[in-house]
Amino acid sequence: MPLSLAIVVVALPLFMFLFLGLVGVKMGRKITGWIGVLAMLVDTILAYGVALTYFFGSGQGQIVDGVRQAVVVANPAWLSFTDTLVVRMGVLVDPIAAMMLVVITTVSLMVHLYSIGYMSDHDGNAEKGFQRYYAFLALFTFSMLGLVVATNIFQIFIFFEMVGLSSYLLIGFYYSLPAANHANKKAFIVTRLADLFFLVGIMILSYYTGTFDFDSLVFGPTMSGSLDTAQSAISTGGGATFLGCSVMAWALTFIFIGGAGKSAMYPLHIWLPDAMEGPTPVSALIHAATMVVAGVFLVARLFPLYVLVQGAMNVILVVGAFTAFYAAAIACTQSDIKRALAFSTISQIAFMMTSLAVSSNNNSLIEIHGGYGLGYMASMFHLFTHAMFKALLFLCAGAIIHAVHSNENDKMHGLHKYMPITSICFLIGCLAIAGIPPFSGFWSKDEILVAAYQRGLGWGIWMSMVAGMTAFYMFRIYYLIFFWKKHEVHDPHHAPKDQPWTMTVPLIILAVISVFAGGVPFHDLVTWDGHHLHTALDMKVACTSVVIALVGIGLATVMYRKENPLPERMANAMRGLWTASYKRFYMDELYQFITHKVIFQGICVPIAWFDRHIIDGFMNWMAEATNSLSFGIRRLQSGSIQAYVYVYLIGALLLGVVTMLCVLL
């Protein structure tokens, strides 16, 4: 299968967006949905074909001298700034792009199928706006695919905006709900703010390197050991510094902030929990599996540059490690299951970020493990497994919400009896995320912890602790949903039950993937420099992390397996901490204060006042002044002929006198 089919993989969803958006709205709802699913299925098959060809095929230039290369399939110019600064709309296939193609299409297909059931009522009638929903899903899929196959950093920026838009549209799918209305606005503006930094980062980067293309930025001769001009510009920072740091450190930090916005790193995470107002499958696709890892992808894509600039790396490391802990702490107390999962997502993405950032080029320890690519590999591995099991968890949550019509876990409880398949799938997801072997999460998280321990003992312990918290809060949710106490059934005919096959089949597929995905040989396929990476299971780290995870699970079992007053007592014992965590450490209130009180009331309102009253007031004053002056002058025109004659005569006489004086003198 030729790699150029990747173009079709990207273009097909775009076509589907236009088709469903323009033609679909005139067609029946269900049929539109099925067309969307079918197209996505084709797209998935093609994407798998491309990925398998890239990884296991040969003869299309993807492996040269045993080193895996990036293959640029197409690269037409789209927008030429100068002769060298040209934005191209290209398709590039390299390990992470191929891996992301698989992830995106898989999850997207599952969500497409699942939504057929989810976006219908219990009698199977599709909701209003069904066609629009599928069109937006296709738009999102297109944008995300376009993002991962980008050949230059500007293309990534473009598709960052596009995924932001699709996310906006899908969060606000129920646009008459005020909460959805606020949430999508918030999501867009926060990520837009991050994108501003991204843009500035690109501007600085391109100013000093003179190019956008990954070809010269990332895949240059570095791979073979030497730096080309663009990269040497980076390593020396173009010689320029700003506020004591090299401009390149600034540029890369700004670009990271752009990624942090999409990936919901602290303090730009605030939009993600609110984004759960969208339909649950959307949350699974966008806000758990794919779009939120765009930031990780961005850093991974520019990894060869980040490696050169340690300052930017340290920023990522601190932000990532803090966010992982912070989000985990909040996830422990949330009562809305989607929000809890959202914070879990934030925490896991922070894991990936941290994993990228622990890579360091001056750590001799790492050399033993085959270069500083371990963190990179682990991060991508975790990205892959996380996408699968988090999508699974969200889709399970969706099924539950669809059954009980509420997001709050006190409306659930004891559902295991009613929804066994969902329960088992959810359990698999929880085990995977908690890092219990042999589920996929164990393998990827273990690599991350190994990388963290290599960076420093402190980082390792910190991340292990967060991993333990992960196990705890995931099982807390699990128990609160499916056990705790008996479910109150008001009407036996409407008791919660497993959902129709369109929703259940995706769950099972994802569950199977979540179990076995740990076997994918990432160290062989996805490494930062294309070389094979030698890894071995570090038994010390593995055992510790499993023990910690088990402790977390055990704690959750003790506290939440059956109804008991223990959680309440715990919460009371640490009331302040508990409330702060439940209120998400008041970050939303802080933002609210800054945006509304400081920016809106403190800047915008005065500016508008200034404009209306000072600037415009000055113009009006000029008009007024001219007007009064004219009225004043009008008095001279008295209309009295005698006055005119008098003035005329005096004037004439004066002229005469002047003339005479001139004659005389």
Partner: protein, 103 residues
């Protein structure tokens, strides 16, 4: 004693001064017209006298006076017609009272 050019100009000048005074001070529009006639007349005299004394061979001054008289007649006729019309409307010929066209 000779009758010089000068001696004719003095009454004319005086007449003009009286015309100016009348024009500015009178309130009755007809009186203003009369003052105007005085001024015109004085100018006519000047034309004629200058013509006769300085350029006796030509008759330009005389013709100017002639035309001035014709124009004065026309002007007076019109002005008086207007004044009478104004009187019809305003019942008044006092120039200070007729301010309807002002502003």
């Amino acid at each position: 004693m000779d009758l010089t050019l000068f001696m004719y100009l003095i009454p004319s000048l005086f007449m003009f001064g009286c015309g100016v005074y009348g024009f500015i001070t009178r309130k009755n529009m007809i009186a203003i017209m009369i003052s105007l006639e005085l001024m015109l007349n004085s100018v006519d005299i000047n034309f004629v006298v200058f013509n006769r004394y300085l350029f006796p061979g030509q008759m330009d001054g005389m013709f100017f006076s002639l035309f001035a008289i014709a124009i004065a007649a026309a002007e007076t006729a019109l002005a008086l017609a207007i004044i009478i019309n104004v009187f019809r409307i305003a019942k008044n010929v006092d120039i200070n009272q007729i301010t309807k066209l002002k502003f």
